[in-house]
């Protein structure tokens, strides 16, 4: 095992090379995962906000004034 890690005296070159290989590819593999999670979470939050806004609007409109000038049929 010791001889294996020693790499015939070339350990200082062989192991960093392998470290770079695995590190760069690991980052390359994981980066889109993180970005995907963030995208979906942002979109979800935006949809929730939109839903809340619609609900508020609907709640305000129904009891008070049926001829609310701000409401259009497309809004509901």
């Amino acid at each position: 095992m010791d001889a294996f890690l020693h790499m015939g005296g070339y350990a200082a070159y062989v192991w960093p090379a392998y470290a770079v290989f695995f590190l760069v590819l690991l980052i390359d593999f994981l980066a889109p995962n993180l970005r995907r999670r963030r995208l979906l979470r942002e979109l979800h939050a935006r949809m929730q906000r939109q839903k809340a806004r619609d609900a508020r609007k609907a709640a305000r409109r129904t009891p008070s004034d049926p001829h609310d000038p701000t409401s259009t049929p497309l809004d509901s």
């Binding site: 294996f4 790499m7 015939g8 005296g9 070339y10 070159y13 062989v14 960093p16 090379a17 392998y18 770079v20 290989f21 760069v24 590819l25 980052i27 390359d28 593999f29 889109p32 995962n33 970005r35 995907r36 995208l39 979906l40 979470r41 942002e42 979109l43 979800h44 939050a45 949809m47």
Partner: protein, 250 residues
Amino acid sequence: MKWIPLWMHRLSSPPTFYRFATVMRPWFMALAVILTAVGLYGGLVTAPADYQQGDAFRIIYIHVPSAEMSLFVYGVMAAAGFIAVVWRLKLAESVAMQSAPIGAAFTFITLVTGSLWGYPTWGTWWTWDARLTSELVLLFLYLGVIGLYHAFEDRRQGARAASFLVLVGVINLPIVHYSVKWWNTLHQGTTVRLFGASKIEGDMLWPLLVMMGAVHLYWAASLCGRVRTDLLSLESGKQWVRDLAQREGR
């Protein structure tokens, strides 16, 4: 045989490709990991040390597959870029643009591992040899493509412009390679051979072939992941993405 174009056509629709990529990605990655384990066991443990370079030659098992991938990814990027420029297919634009960071990563690995290999064997970590210089130019090409893509505000327009640059680079790369070769013979520089006179032996060869298979599978997995994410942000207004966000976005 009509099902092939039909299948290709169906696959080129973003939601279908998203599902395809989601299913295939773990399989590609699992196979890549298994092959890497087998290849590196063969390369680092069972293969004998080189009679000239000793154990330093074991860098070959990541250097050569990465070098091959840096060109292979460029080829795929060029093919997708051609489709993107001519037919303006959304998936092709995405594949071309998402290939660029993967290719840049492999090119970077090739340069770094090559330097780490060159230092103990040639005595220098850099030389203006045709292969090394072309590889460096390739890295600049990849960075130029990524830079041009991100300089546009409209993502699809940026993808098409950068795809055009990819096509220009395809013509340019062999010219660079051969002109540097000519320049090197003119300058009578230190002539270094990347591969010595020794032919590579069977015990050393099979791990290399396994590693080459592994990086190709890794590339497929990485591309699936990147394109899948890119399609989400490109189509963020569409219903299928909204459904997905509803299910997975909490």
